[in-house]
C-alpha cells in the first residue's frame, strides 16, 4: 500500500472516531432513545462511503451525476445525518440541538421531503433495496454512470422483499447497484443466528447471482479495498459487500449487548462511553 493510501486510511479513521464521538454526545444529550448499537456498527461504513466511496457534493445535492445512497436500515438515520454533516451536508450543531424535536428535519428515520440531501424516505425494513433497484434501472436507461449504494442491516435481510429485489437486480444485470450489509449478527431482541439461520450468508447472495465481497466493517483498509475493487458501473452484476461488524462497536459496555439496540446515555454514562471510546481507539492504534 502506498503512502497516499495509508494517509487516506488514517484520515478516514479519524473521521470515524469523530463520528462516534458526536453520536455519543447526541445520545447523551437527547432524552429519547437513539439506535446507538446499530449506529456504532455502521459508523465506519458510513464514514468510508461519504468520505471516500460515494461521488457526492454537498454544494450540489441535485447533481444528476451524483451517486445515490439509500439507507435501507433507516433506524441508523442519526449516524447518517452526522456522517453527512462531517462531509459538509448539514450542520452538526443543528442536528444536536434539534434532533427529534417538533419541527426538526432530523428524526429517528430519514424523510427526504423534510431533509433534502437525503435520497429517499426509509425506515420500514426491506424497502430500500427495491428503491435502489428502481434508481439503478433509471440510471442505466439514461446512460448515467453513477452508482446506487444501498446499506442494509443483516437482520433486515430476513424481509422477503429484499430477496425479491435481489432477484430483480440480477435479472436486470444491474452492475451499477451495490449493497453494503452491516453484518452485526444481532436483531433487536436476539442474537440473529439464534432465531434465523442466516448462514451460509455469503452463499445466499452468491446463489442469487450477486458478486460477493467480504470485508471487515471496522477496518478502514478493508472497506477502502472493497470500495476500490467494485466493478465498473456498466458491468452486468450487482455487488454485495458483506461487512462483518459489532453492534455497539467502540464502546465496550455496548458491544454485543442486546440492551443497547436503542437507548439514551445520562451524563455519567456519557462520560463512561466517551472514556471507553477513547480507550478503544488507543487499543486500535497500539
Amino acid at each position: 500500500m502506498d503512502d497516499t493510501k495509508v494517509g487516506e486510511i488514517e484520515r478516514l479513521e479519524d473521521l470515524a472516531y469523530e463520528l462516534r464521538a458526536k453520536l455519543l454526545q447526541l445520545c447523551g444529550t437527547y432524552e429519547g432513545a437513539v439506535h446507538i448499537g446499530g449506529d456504532l456498527s455502521v459508523a465506519d461504513i458510513l464514514t468510508a462511503l461519504f468520505n471516500y466511496g460515494l461521488h457526492v457534493n454537498p454544494a450540489d445535492i441535485a447533481d444528476p451525476r451524483r451517486d445515490r445512497f439509500v439507507l435501507s436500515k433507516g433506524h441508523a438515520a442519526v449516524c447518517m445525518y452526522i456522517a453527512m454533516a462531517i462531509r459538509g451536508f448539514f450542520s452538526y450543531d443543528d442536528i444536536l440541538k434539534t434532533y427529534g424535536q417538533l419541527g426538526s428535519a432530523y428524526g429517528m428515520h430519514p424523510c427526504k421531503v423534510q431533509l433534502p440531501g437525503v435520497e429517499c424516505s426509509t425506515g420500514s425494513l426491506g424497502h430500500g433495496l427495491p428503491l435502489a433497484v428502481g434508481m439503478a434501472l433509471g440510471a442505466r436507461h439514461r446512460g448515467a454512470s453513477h452508482r446506487i449504494v444501498c446499506l442494509m442491516g443483516d437482520g433486515e435481510t430476513g424481509e422477503g422483499s429484499v430477496w425479491e429485489a435481489a432477484m430483480a437486480a440480477r435479472s436486470n444485470e444491474l452492475g451499477n447497484l451495490v449493497a453494503f450489509i452491516d453484518r452485526n449478527r444481532q436483531l433487536m431482541t436476539s442474537f440473529a443466528e439464534e432465531r434465523v439461520v442466516f448462514e451460509p450468508y455469503p452463499d445466499k447472495w452468491r446463489a442469487f447471482g450477486w458478486e460477493v465481497v467480504e470485508a471487515d466493517g471496522h477496518d478502514m483498509a478493508s472497506l477502502v479495498a472493497a470500495i476500490d475493487g467494485l466493478p465498473a458501473t456498466d458491468s452486468g452484476r450487482p455487488t454485495v459487500v458483506i461487512c462483518e461488524t459489532i453492534k455497539g462497536k467502540g464502546v465496550d459496555f455496548m458491544e454485543h449487548n442486546l440492551a443497547w439496540h436503542a437507548g439514551s446515555l445520562g451524563p455519567a454514562d456519557l462520560e463512561r462511553a466517551m472514556a471507553a471510546l477513547e480507550a478503544s481507539r488507543r487499543k486500535a492504534v497500539a
Partner: protein
C-alpha cells in the same frame, strides 16, 4: 383515425390501457410500465419501448418498490396488475414508498369487486377502503372503458400517486359517447339526470344503476345516476347538490364492501355537511367471503344485483326504509 363507440357496445378496458400507454410512451420519454407477470395487454408498450418495460415476475412488493425508485429518479412509472394482490401484498410499499414521498406512481389494475369468478383470493373487495386511507393517494374506479384512457392521460399531469380500479377489463360496456361528459379527476359525472332520488355508483355497477333508473322511469320516477368515479378526493359539492335537488334520497351501489367504500365516503360528506337526508341506503358486498359464480349471479346472491337495486330505489322514492338496514 378517430373511432366512435356507442352505448352498450362492448370494449376491452385492457386494450384501452394498452393503446393509451403506448401512445403516452411516445409522448413521455420518462414513462415506464411495470407489471408482476400480468403483462398480456401491455404488449404494445412492451414492443415499442422494451427498455422502459419491466416484468418482475410474481413479486408485487418489489414491483411497487422499484416503481418508487424509478419515480425518485425522475420517471413516471405505471404499475399494472391484479388488484387483489397489488392492493394488499404491496400495500406497505404503496403507503410508505409511494405515498409518503408523494411520488407520481400510477397503480392500474383489474379484478375490483366480485368479478372474474376466481374466488375470494382473486376478488379485490377491500381495496378502495385501503387506498382511500392513504394520504396523498387519488383513488378512482372506472366502468366506461374509454374513460380509462382519459383518466390515464389526465393523470400524467399529477404530482402524486393515483389508483385506477377496473373490473376484469376484458369486455366492458361503453357507457358514454366520447366527449359526452367532461371527465375530470375529482369530479363526479351525472350519467343521467333525475329529481326523485340519486343513485351514486362507480365502476362496473354504473351500467346496472342506469338499467335500474330505466325501470324506475317505467314507474314514472326520475332517478339521477351519478358515476362517482373518483372516490378520493370526493366531489362533495356534487353530493350536496344531489341532496338538495333529489329530495335528500340517496342510494349508493358498489362492487366493494358496503362499508368502507363509496357509501362510507358519501356518508362522511353527509355528516360533515349536515345534509339531513330523508333516506340513505347502501348496496354492496356484505361481510362474507363470496363464493363462485358469474358476476351478475354473485351480485344477485349477495344482495346488490339489479333487482335489489330497483327495490332500493323504489323504497327510496316511496320514503320506505331498508328492511335489512344495519345488518350488512
Amino acid at each position: 383515425m378517430p373511432v366512435t363507440f356507442t352505448f352498450g357496445e362492448m370494449l376491452s378496458a385492457r386494450s384501452v390501457i394498452g393503446s393509451t400507454l403506448a401512445e403516452l410512451g411516445e409522448q413521455y420519454e420518462n414513462l415506464w410500465v411495470l407489471t408482476p407477470d400480468i403483462g398480456a395487454t401491455l404488449v404494445e408498450f412492451r414492443d415499442q419501448f422494451p427498455d422502459r418495460f419491466l416484468d418482475v415476475g410474481l413479486a408485487e412488493q418489489v414491483c411497487v418498490g422499484i416503481a418508487a425508485g424509478l419515480a425518485y429518479d425522475g420517471n413516471i412509472p405505471v404499475v399494472s396488475g391484479m388488484l387483489p394482490f397489488l392492493s394488499m401484498r404491496a400495500l406497505e410499499q404503496t403507503r410508505t414508498d409511494v405515498c409518503y414521498p408523494n411520488l407520481p406512481v400510477k397503480i392500474i389494475g383489474t379484478h375490483g369487486g366480485l368479478v372474474g369468478n376466481g374466488g375470494s383470493t382473486h376478488y379485490a373487495v377491500e381495496d378502495l377502503a385501503l387506498m382511500c386511507a392513504l394520504t396523498n393517494m387519488t383513488v378512482t374506479s372506472i366502468g366506461d372503458p374509454l374513460m380509462v384512457g382519459e383518466v390515464i392521460r389526465q393523470s400524467m399531469q399529477m404530482q402524486g400517486p393515483i389508483y385506477i380500479r377496473l373490473s376484469v377489463g376484458k369486455s366492458d360496456a361503453v357507457l358514454y359517447e366520447p366527449g359526452q361528459h367532461d371527465v375530470r379527476i375529482g369530479k363526479g359525472i351525472v350519467a343521467r339526470e333525475g329529481t326523485d332520488a340519486t343513485i351514486f355508483t362507480h365502476g362496473t355497477t354504473v351500467l346496472q344503476a342506469l338499467k335500474a333508473a330505466d325501470q324506475l322511469a317505467l314507474d314514472g320516477r326520475s332517478v339521477r345516476v351519478v358515476d362517482m368515479f373518483t372516490l378520493k378526493p370526493l366531489d362533495g359539492d356534487l353530493v350536496e347538490r344531489c341532496a338538495a335537488e333529489t329530495g335528500g334520497r340517496f342510494v349508493v351501489l358498489e362492487d366493494h364492501l358496503a362499508y368502507g367504500g363509496l357509501a362510507s365516503r358519501i356518508a362522511d360528506v353527509v355528516l360533515d355537511r349536515a345534509l339531513g337526508l330523508s333516506s340513505f341506503e347502501r348496496l354492496g358486498i356484505p361481510q362474507v367471503y363470496a363464493g363462485f359464480g358469474d358476476d351478475e349471479q354473485l351480485r344477485d346472491k349477495h344482495g346488490y344485483g339489479l333487482a335489489a337495486t330497483v327495490a332500493a330505489l323504489r323504497r327510496a322514492v316511496a320514503g320506505a326504509s331498508d328492511p335489512s338496514k344495519g345488518t350488512r
